[in-house]
Subunit: 321 residues, 2 copies
């Protein structure tokens, strides 16, 4: 069996760990990772979502926080702050830094991000094929009110909105800058074209899955393939399971509910949708728009819970097929 | 009083700390730092000698080893090794890494090394004006026997010779690649032109002081200025006080002795020379070539010893004047 999963950061990575545990041996999993939250910091190319997937599946993740490395130290960050260079709000650990150094050096030598990601994964052995959604630079920007100019708006990098501002101000728009002219990375369309199942993990529907789908050709390839496309709601009981997805949904005019997210993806793309048991009332609402829906426990309290969720998603895909 | 000192790494930095303690208030010290041992590692510009001076005078040096930062951690280095990227032999600590990140980013933004060094020193407040010898790229290469091709020679970067090979094989030549076309950094010739005294600390006469003097214009400016030029022998009792300077002297055909180093600099450049008390017999030999010479304790066992050495050097300069 060949599975393609689109993934953002923490939620996606934890689901993928469950998926790996749930599938029979011989299953090929290709992960198309979001790169819209990539950022250049201190001259280094940082790919938070790709790294979260790589570290989580490769056994190097800091389990408590869900991002960054286990056994991390923060000496370089302390020193950068002592030099007074900005930004100081991004959590750049010393171990993590090595990943960015290797990546930046390889990119500088002319390797595309997909080749760099493959080289990094040669160490981490994540057990999936991890592809960036694109080798082209795409940066998600968020439009917010400009605090220095009443009535005006300004665009900030997604990381600045998410990490520095902690999504604490309204987002008026979310724009994946550069997506229009970007192409899917080598292997992305091929993997979709051979997929038996396509999964949307409980990642952020706007800035993770949505950004991947914004790369020209990816949405179309998924819809054209005809394989079951099954998603898991990142919204449980009217609130994001983690993160601040409600802010992002509001920016694109989507209600923070499990049913609204399914409708946002749409029946033209999505065949099946899992909502949490607390959202059982959403099932008929989702099925009404032509998406098969089931209510199952969606709290990824541990790796077993994630594996059970993956089994439910695959079972729903089997039913659709 | 205005003092110009040429400096390499550890020996130079420790002497400069003594010099700062020895001079009367209001003395201006300009340090012209060697950049011939600069190296690009993992895409970062590393300036070991400039940093050793900056950290030593700014209170951030690891006292025991004489280079690198106090309270250092090594997480990034461990990770780079885990990725299998080379070189693994260079001691790149996490705190130190921040300096290289700031420097590399500023250089990438178009600032010359002299401006970057000034910015880094704004944090460290070394109490001297630290200038790189040049803003141009100069790299000291060492010719060694090629182990893969008997009878042939190959050039390695000075750091590879010094750190990886621990100067364990004969050096046939030392070449400051790029020096021919380099210009002194802004402020270097001006500082020499206003100097009341020029000092050569007990740094490596070939790859530290020698490389600085190889930048076109610097040697001439020192000779033309007419101010007393006083040096301190890095060779005591026929051996380098620290490091492997004998290897470098052999490569340029100079005997490993306090007198031979003075003669190597020459009376056209050097006016005064301090040798250690164990080398008292060298005094007449040095004076014979027209360089005033004194035998004083030259072991920098602590900061006080370094200050006493600096006072002796300034006393000799006063005598010459």
């Amino acid at each position: 069996m060949r599975i393609v999963a689109l993934a953002g950061g923490i939620g996606g990575a934890r689901f993928l760990r469950g998926l790996k545990a749930a599938v029979p041996q011989g299953t090929e999993i290709t992960v198309i990772g979001n790169t819209g939250d990539d950022i250049h910091l201190f001259g280094l190319k940082v790919c938070p979502d790709l790294d979260t997937v790589m570290y989580t599946l490769g056994g190097g993740i800091n389990e408590e926080q869900g991002w960054g490395r286990t056994g991390e130290t923060w000496s370089a960050k302390e020193e950068l702050a002592a030099y007074g260079v900005e930004p100081s709000w991004f959590g750049l650990g010393d171990r993590d830094l090595a990943t960015h150094l290797v990546r930046t050096q390889m990119l500088g030598a002319g390797y595309p991000l997909s080749a760099v990601t493959e080289a990094l994964c040669a160490r981490w052995q994540p057990g999936v094929r991890l592809l960036p959604m694109s080798d082209d630079r795409i940066e998600t920007h968020v439009a917010i009110d400009d605090p220095d100019s009443p009535g005006a708006r300004k665009a900030v990098h997604f990381q600045e909105y998410w990490v520095r501002l902690r999504a604490g101000v309204p987002a008026h728009a979310v724009v994946p800058v550069g997506a229009d002219e970007a192409a899917p990375a080598p292997g992305v369309l091929e993997a979709i074209g051979e997929a038996d199942v396509v999964l949307f993990p409980p990642s952020n529907p706007v800035v993770s899955i949505g950004t991947i789908l914004a790369v020209p050709g990816i949405r179309e390839a998924i819809a054209d393939r005809g394989a079951p496309v099954v998603g898991l709601s990142p919204i449980v009981g009217g609130a994001p399971v983690r993160g601040m997805a409600d802010r992002m949904l509001a920016a694109v005019g989507v209600e923070t509910s499990a049913a609204a997210v399914a409708t946002h993806y749409g029946a033209g793309l999505l065949d099946g949708w899992l909502v949490d048991t607390v959202d059982e009332a959403a099932v008929p609402e989702v099925e009404k728009v032509g998406i098969r829906c089931r209510a199952v426990p969606l709290m990824m309290s541990d790796a077993d819970a994630a594996a059970r969720m993956a089994r439910e998603a695959l079972a729903l895909a089997g039913e659709i097929q």
